[in-house]
Symmetry: C2
Subunit: 128 residues, 2 copies
Amino acid sequence: MPEIVSSRMAPKSSNPDFLNGVPELLLLRLLARRPMYGYELVQAIRLASDGELEFGEGCIYPILHRLERDKKLASKRETVGGRSRVVYRVTPAGRKKLEQQQSLWEQTMLAIEKVLHGEDDRGNASIS
Amino acid sequence: MPEIVSSRMAPKSSNPDFLNGVPELLLLRLLARRPMYGYELVQAIRLASDGELEFGEGCIYPILHRLERDKKLASKRETVGGRSRVVYRVTPAGRKKLEQQQSLWEQTMLAIEKVLHGEDDRGNASIS
DNA sequence: GACGATACCTATTGGTTCAAGGTATGGCAA
DNA sequence: TTGCCATACCTTGAACCAATAGGTATCGTC
Protein backbone atom coordinates (compact mmCIF):
# COMPACT_ATOMS: atom_id res chain seq x y z
CA MET A 1 0.00 0.00 0.00
CA PRO A 2 2.02 2.95 -1.29
CA GLU A 3 -0.05 5.47 0.58
CA ILE A 4 -0.34 8.39 -1.74
CA VAL A 5 0.26 11.70 -0.03
CA SER A 6 -0.38 13.47 -3.31
CA SER A 7 1.36 16.76 -3.91
CA ARG A 8 1.33 18.12 -0.40
CA MET A 9 4.64 17.93 1.39
CA ALA A 10 5.21 18.52 5.06
CA PRO A 11 3.37 15.76 6.90
CA LYS A 12 1.63 18.42 8.96
CA SER A 13 1.92 16.13 11.91
CA SER A 14 -1.68 16.96 12.58
CA ASN A 15 -3.19 19.84 14.43
CA PRO A 16 -1.17 22.94 15.30
CA ASP A 17 -0.61 21.84 18.85
CA PHE A 18 -3.71 23.75 19.55
CA LEU A 19 -3.78 24.82 22.88
CA ASN A 20 -0.65 23.35 24.01
CA GLY A 21 2.22 25.67 23.59
CA VAL A 22 0.40 28.63 25.09
CA PRO A 23 2.92 29.03 27.92
CA GLU A 24 5.72 28.92 25.37
CA LEU A 25 4.04 31.55 23.25
CA LEU A 26 3.53 33.86 26.21
CA LEU A 27 7.14 33.47 27.31
CA LEU A 28 8.44 34.36 23.89
CA ARG A 29 6.09 37.31 23.68
CA LEU A 30 7.06 38.72 27.07
CA LEU A 31 10.78 38.19 26.51
CA ALA A 32 10.53 39.90 23.13
CA ARG A 33 9.54 43.05 24.99
CA ARG A 34 12.42 42.94 27.42
CA PRO A 35 14.76 40.43 29.02
CA MET A 36 13.42 38.83 32.17
CA TYR A 37 14.24 35.99 34.53
CA GLY A 38 12.18 32.93 35.32
CA TYR A 39 10.67 33.88 38.61
CA GLU A 40 9.78 37.26 37.17
CA LEU A 41 8.07 35.69 34.19
CA VAL A 42 5.86 33.54 36.37
CA GLN A 43 4.54 36.63 38.06
CA ALA A 44 4.44 38.75 34.94
CA ILE A 45 1.98 36.31 33.37
CA ARG A 46 -0.18 36.37 36.46
CA LEU A 47 -0.13 40.16 36.65
CA ALA A 48 -0.66 40.79 32.96
CA SER A 49 -3.70 38.54 32.95
CA ASP A 50 -5.15 40.03 36.12
CA GLY A 51 -4.63 36.75 37.93
CA GLU A 52 -6.63 34.66 35.49
CA LEU A 53 -3.61 32.84 34.11
CA GLU A 54 -1.19 31.18 36.46
CA PHE A 55 1.55 28.88 35.23
CA GLY A 56 3.70 27.40 37.93
CA GLU A 57 7.46 27.40 38.02
CA GLY A 58 7.42 23.70 37.27
CA CYS A 59 5.86 24.61 33.95
CA ILE A 60 7.93 27.69 33.11
CA TYR A 61 11.48 26.58 33.86
CA PRO A 62 11.49 23.47 31.67
CA ILE A 63 10.21 25.54 28.76
CA LEU A 64 12.92 28.15 29.27
CA HIS A 65 15.55 25.43 29.29
CA ARG A 66 14.23 23.83 26.17
CA LEU A 67 14.02 27.13 24.31
CA GLU A 68 17.57 27.93 25.27
CA ARG A 69 18.78 24.51 24.21
CA ASP A 70 17.13 25.15 20.85
CA LYS A 71 18.86 28.52 20.55
CA LYS A 72 15.61 30.46 20.73
CA LEU A 73 16.71 32.10 23.96
CA ALA A 74 20.06 33.12 25.39
CA SER A 75 20.72 33.57 29.07
CA LYS A 76 23.17 35.33 31.27
CA ARG A 77 23.54 35.08 35.01
CA GLU A 78 23.13 38.22 37.06
CA THR A 79 23.65 38.80 40.74
CA VAL A 80 21.57 41.46 42.44
CA GLY A 81 21.84 41.88 46.17
CA GLY A 82 23.40 38.50 46.69
CA ARG A 83 20.65 36.87 44.66
CA SER A 84 21.47 35.06 41.51
CA ARG A 85 19.17 35.39 38.54
CA VAL A 86 19.21 33.86 35.09
CA VAL A 87 18.08 36.54 32.69
CA TYR A 88 16.77 35.39 29.32
CA ARG A 89 16.49 37.29 26.07
CA VAL A 90 15.19 36.16 22.68
CA THR A 91 17.63 35.44 19.89
CA PRO A 92 16.85 36.30 16.26
CA ALA A 93 15.79 32.67 15.82
CA GLY A 94 13.54 33.07 18.83
CA ARG A 95 11.94 36.15 17.37
CA LYS A 96 11.24 34.28 14.20
CA LYS A 97 9.67 31.44 16.12
CA LEU A 98 7.55 33.92 18.03
CA GLU A 99 6.17 35.34 14.81
CA GLN A 100 5.37 31.88 13.50
CA GLN A 101 3.76 30.75 16.72
CA GLN A 102 1.70 33.88 17.16
CA SER A 103 0.51 33.72 13.59
CA LEU A 104 -0.42 30.07 14.02
CA TRP A 105 -2.19 30.89 17.24
CA GLU A 106 -4.33 33.61 15.70
CA GLN A 107 -5.14 31.42 12.74
CA THR A 108 -6.20 28.61 15.02
CA MET A 109 -8.34 30.91 17.13
CA LEU A 110 -10.09 32.13 14.01
CA ALA A 111 -10.76 28.54 12.97
CA ILE A 112 -12.27 27.77 16.35
CA GLU A 113 -14.40 30.89 16.15
CA LYS A 114 -15.62 29.77 12.77
CA VAL A 115 -16.94 26.55 14.27
CA LEU A 116 -18.31 28.21 17.39
CA HIS A 117 -20.16 31.00 15.65
CA GLY A 118 -20.52 29.59 12.20
CA GLU A 119 -23.96 29.23 10.74
CA ASP A 120 -25.02 25.72 10.05
CA ASP A 121 -23.80 25.78 6.46
CA ARG A 122 -25.48 22.47 5.90
CA GLY A 123 -28.39 23.52 3.77
CA ASN A 124 -28.36 19.78 3.09
CA ALA A 125 -31.71 18.88 4.60
CA SER A 126 -31.53 15.30 3.44
CA ILE A 127 -32.69 13.98 6.76
CA SER A 128 -36.13 14.94 7.92
CA MET B 1 1.52 22.81 57.36
CA PRO B 2 -2.17 23.75 57.30
CA GLU B 3 -2.00 25.28 53.86
CA ILE B 4 -4.31 28.22 54.04
CA VAL B 5 -6.65 28.42 51.10
CA SER B 6 -8.15 31.58 52.52
CA SER B 7 -11.74 32.34 51.70
CA ARG B 8 -11.89 30.98 48.23
CA MET B 9 -13.65 27.67 47.92
CA ALA B 10 -13.52 25.38 44.92
CA PRO B 11 -9.94 24.17 44.75
CA LYS B 12 -9.82 25.51 41.20
CA SER B 13 -7.56 22.63 40.32
CA SER B 14 -5.45 25.22 38.61
CA ASN B 15 -5.87 26.69 35.19
CA PRO B 16 -9.16 26.42 33.33
CA ASP B 17 -8.01 23.47 31.29
CA PHE B 18 -6.75 26.01 28.95
CA LEU B 19 -6.64 24.72 25.69
CA ASN B 20 -7.51 21.24 26.39
CA GLY B 21 -11.17 20.66 26.12
CA VAL B 22 -11.50 22.43 22.81
CA PRO B 23 -12.81 19.35 21.01
CA GLU B 24 -15.33 18.88 23.78
CA LEU B 25 -16.47 22.47 23.50
CA LEU B 26 -16.88 22.21 19.74
CA LEU B 27 -18.85 18.98 20.04
CA LEU B 28 -21.25 20.51 22.53
CA ARG B 29 -21.63 23.60 20.38
CA LEU B 30 -22.36 21.67 17.20
CA LEU B 31 -24.75 19.27 18.89
CA ALA B 32 -26.60 22.18 20.46
CA ARG B 33 -27.51 23.28 16.96
CA ARG B 34 -28.83 19.92 15.86
CA PRO B 35 -28.36 16.23 16.68
CA MET B 36 -25.54 14.57 14.80
CA TYR B 37 -23.62 11.30 14.79
CA GLY B 38 -19.93 10.77 15.40
CA TYR B 39 -18.66 10.34 11.90
CA GLU B 40 -20.66 13.36 10.86
CA LEU B 41 -19.19 15.48 13.64
CA VAL B 42 -15.64 14.67 12.62
CA GLN B 43 -16.34 16.05 9.18
CA ALA B 44 -18.49 18.92 10.38
CA ILE B 45 -15.55 20.29 12.35
CA ARG B 46 -13.27 19.99 9.36
CA LEU B 47 -15.78 21.66 7.06
CA ALA B 48 -16.80 24.43 9.45
CA SER B 49 -13.17 25.39 9.96
CA ASP B 50 -12.32 25.24 6.26
CA GLY B 51 -10.04 22.30 6.87
CA GLU B 52 -7.88 24.02 9.45
CA LEU B 53 -9.14 21.93 12.35
CA GLU B 54 -9.11 18.19 12.08
CA PHE B 55 -9.82 15.99 15.06
CA GLY B 56 -9.61 12.30 14.37
CA GLU B 57 -12.22 9.73 15.27
CA GLY B 58 -9.92 8.44 17.99
CA CYS B 59 -10.34 11.82 19.63
CA ILE B 60 -14.04 12.36 19.05
CA TYR B 61 -15.56 9.03 20.00
CA PRO B 62 -14.10 8.80 23.50
CA ILE B 63 -15.33 12.32 24.24
CA LEU B 64 -18.83 11.47 23.05
CA HIS B 65 -18.86 8.38 25.26
CA ARG B 66 -17.67 10.33 28.27
CA LEU B 67 -20.22 13.10 27.76
CA GLU B 68 -22.99 10.55 27.47
CA ARG B 69 -21.83 8.74 30.58
CA ASP B 70 -21.99 12.08 32.39
CA LYS B 71 -25.52 12.70 31.12
CA LYS B 72 -24.50 15.67 29.05
CA LEU B 73 -25.52 13.87 25.89
CA ALA B 74 -28.16 11.32 25.05
CA SER B 75 -27.96 8.96 22.09
CA LYS B 76 -30.28 6.92 20.01
CA ARG B 77 -29.41 4.41 17.34
CA GLU B 78 -30.69 5.02 13.84
CA THR B 79 -30.48 2.87 10.78
CA VAL B 80 -30.37 4.57 7.41
CA GLY B 81 -29.91 2.48 4.32
CA GLY B 82 -28.67 -0.52 6.25
CA ARG B 83 -26.14 1.68 8.04
CA SER B 84 -26.27 2.06 11.75
CA ARG B 85 -25.64 5.44 13.31
CA VAL B 86 -25.54 6.65 16.86
CA VAL B 87 -27.15 10.07 16.90
CA TYR B 88 -26.36 12.33 19.85
CA ARG B 89 -28.26 15.28 21.21
CA VAL B 90 -27.50 17.54 24.15
CA THR B 91 -29.44 17.19 27.36
CA PRO B 92 -30.42 20.20 29.48
CA ALA B 93 -27.37 19.45 31.64
CA GLY B 94 -25.27 19.40 28.49
CA ARG B 95 -26.59 22.76 27.44
CA LYS B 96 -25.69 24.17 30.80
CA LYS B 97 -22.22 22.76 30.54
CA LEU B 98 -21.86 24.27 27.09
CA GLU B 99 -22.68 27.71 28.41
CA GLN B 100 -20.17 27.35 31.23
CA GLN B 101 -17.45 26.02 28.96
CA GLN B 102 -17.96 28.64 26.30
CA SER B 103 -17.94 31.42 28.84
CA LEU B 104 -14.76 30.03 30.37
CA TRP B 105 -13.22 29.74 26.95
CA GLU B 106 -13.91 33.36 26.04
CA GLN B 107 -12.66 34.54 29.39
CA THR B 108 -9.44 32.57 28.96
CA MET B 109 -8.93 33.88 25.45
CA LEU B 110 -9.30 37.43 26.73
CA ALA B 111 -6.71 36.73 29.42
CA ILE B 112 -4.26 35.41 26.85
CA GLU B 113 -4.90 38.44 24.66
CA LYS B 114 -4.15 40.66 27.61
CA VAL B 115 -0.72 39.11 27.94
CA LEU B 116 -0.06 39.03 24.23
CA HIS B 117 -1.05 42.60 23.50
CA GLY B 118 -0.74 44.16 26.91
CA GLU B 119 1.54 47.11 27.35
CA ASP B 120 4.43 46.52 29.66
CA ASP B 121 2.66 47.82 32.73
CA ARG B 122 5.90 47.68 34.62
CA GLY B 123 6.68 51.33 35.01
CA ASN B 124 8.93 49.89 37.70
CA ALA B 125 12.29 50.88 36.22
CA SER B 126 14.23 49.72 39.23
CA ILE B 127 16.79 47.96 37.10
CA SER B 128 18.90 50.09 34.81
C1' DG C 1 16.52 31.13 64.77
C1' DA C 2 12.34 30.65 62.38
C1' DC C 3 9.75 32.23 58.71
C1' DG C 4 8.38 34.19 54.28
C1' DA C 5 9.79 35.95 49.97
C1' DT C 6 13.01 35.50 46.41
C1' DA C 7 15.19 32.49 43.00
C1' DC C 8 16.48 28.39 40.95
C1' DC C 9 15.70 23.38 39.61
C1' DT C 10 13.79 18.36 38.70
C1' DA C 11 11.02 14.06 38.92
C1' DT C 12 6.66 12.06 38.85
C1' DT C 13 2.10 12.01 37.76
C1' DG C 14 -2.02 12.80 35.09
C1' DG C 15 -4.80 14.13 31.33
C1' DT C 16 -5.51 14.79 26.27
C1' DT C 17 -4.74 14.16 21.76
C1' DC C 18 -3.08 11.37 18.01
C1' DA C 19 -1.82 7.52 15.14
C1' DA C 20 -2.90 3.16 14.18
C1' DG C 21 -5.42 -0.50 14.09
C1' DG C 22 -9.84 -3.45 14.11
C1' DT C 23 -14.91 -4.55 12.73
C1' DA C 24 -18.76 -4.27 9.51
C1' DT C 25 -22.02 -2.68 5.69
C1' DG C 26 -23.19 -0.66 1.08
C1' DG C 27 -22.17 0.64 -3.58
C1' DC C 28 -19.47 0.60 -7.56
C1' DA C 29 -16.27 -1.02 -10.90
C1' DA C 30 -13.33 -4.42 -13.05
C1' DT D 1 -17.56 -12.09 -7.69
C1' DT D 2 -13.91 -9.99 -6.32
C1' DG D 3 -11.84 -5.97 -4.83
C1' DC D 4 -11.96 -1.43 -3.18
C1' DC D 5 -13.58 2.85 -1.30
C1' DA D 6 -16.65 5.40 1.60
C1' DT D 7 -19.37 5.11 5.46
C1' DA D 8 -19.74 4.18 10.43
C1' DC D 9 -18.42 2.50 14.68
C1' DC D 10 -14.82 1.40 18.21
C1' DT D 11 -10.28 0.74 21.19
C1' DT D 12 -5.42 0.56 22.23
C1' DG D 13 -0.81 2.54 22.57
C1' DA D 14 2.40 6.08 22.45
C1' DA D 15 3.57 10.90 22.85
C1' DC D 16 3.31 15.19 24.76
C1' DC D 17 2.34 18.83 27.87
C1' DA D 18 1.31 20.93 32.11
C1' DA D 19 0.54 20.42 37.21
C1' DT D 20 1.90 18.86 41.52
C1' DA D 21 5.12 18.26 44.60
C1' DG D 22 9.15 18.22 46.04
C1' DG D 23 14.29 19.96 46.65
C1' DT D 24 18.24 23.68 47.29
C1' DA D 25 19.89 28.29 48.69
C1' DT D 26 19.98 33.40 49.89
C1' DC D 27 18.11 37.61 52.06
C1' DG D 28 15.46 40.30 55.39
C1' DT D 29 12.57 40.56 59.30
C1' DC D 30 10.50 39.35 63.62
